[in-house]
Amino acid sequence: MENMYKIEIVLGSLHTEALLEILNKKGISGYTIIPHVKGKGDRVEYDGLGLNDAFSNNYIIIVVDEEILQKVKEPIRNFLSKYGGACIISDCLWLKQ
């Protein structure tokens, strides 16, 4: 088992691709996306309702080591400040196969 960091990002569905492109360039080894997530924060409510994806969030989970964490922190912050969304970081153990 390895000590890692778990980054969780809630982000408008339409912006996910752009963020992942940035993070892939920084060297993340993988990601998990839970689509069709609803939520409410400071901005408009994301009720996940019909017609288009403009009001639907993705929940993105990225497990990284300390080094990558430091590399991606700022880009995520910048991205979210432009496009909205929330991000939390916590410790975890990665069960290596």
Binding site: V44, G50, L51, N52, D53
Partner: protein, 324 residues
Amino acid sequence: MQLDVLVNNLLSAPVLFFFLGLIAVLAKSDLEIPQPVSRFFSIYLLFTIGIKGGEELAHSQWNAEVFLSLLLAVFMSAGVPLYAYFFLRRKFNSYDSAAIAATYGSISVVTFISAVAFLKEVNLDFGGHMVAAMTLMESPALIVSLFILKNTIKSDSAESKVSWAKLLHESLVNSSVFLILGSLFVGIVASEKSHNELAPFTEGLFKGFLALFLLDMGIVAAKRISALAKGGVFLISFAIILPLINASIAIILSYFLGISHGNAFLLAVLSASASYIAVPAAVRLTIPEANPGLFVPMALAITFPFNITLGIPLYYFITQALWT
């Protein structure tokens, strides 16, 4: 007889289902259409409009009036943001103004469908190329709005990144435009036999799916309407006055360009309609600073119901007075 037309329009099943959706939310019902089902309805509608539009296009004559009406379509979509933006800037910041301008320059497919159904009801002809005209009006407004935005705000790092090539590309391949264009193409090349085989699907089910889609639109419109409260009277008046102005301009230009009655009416409706599906999604990407709590509910909860209930009969009466 004129009242008849208005009442018939208000009592058509799709319009009633839109209000049913509104009432569901206001009455705090838990009625909801799951998102994938809602998508299915819109895929069905775009597919059908494309196929039928293609069939009509294949049979229609290409003359000067056709080209003029296609040109006017693009002109209206590109022109509306030009005056709307500066009008809006009196009350809103640049981002919101550009977003709303793009929304109103573009079109609403369901409004167009309602107008076509209305034309059939009153037995007025229109050109097979009008679905193409509608498709041409989807995107210019956003491009023009972004252009205005970029030139009015001091271009700092973020905004200067607008890639026009990417934007043009995006406006051709966004899912709504792509599905209509593709189905239009299939509708053009498909044999008569093919069209007959598809008819029970495309023609038979149309009214049913349209009613269910409008039920969903009513629900979503009602859920978004509360966000308008902050905008107040100005916003709501704007969402009714701008369509009236746009329709009037379209009617006047059509009249002088010699466009036929049916086509002029449809161009008026298209100009008066505002996008609440394709453009809002594109605006979230290109103008993330704009508040979606403004431009979506304006188009969906005010302009759309106004157009399908009162607007369509009104534009019809005006054109009727001019053309006959």
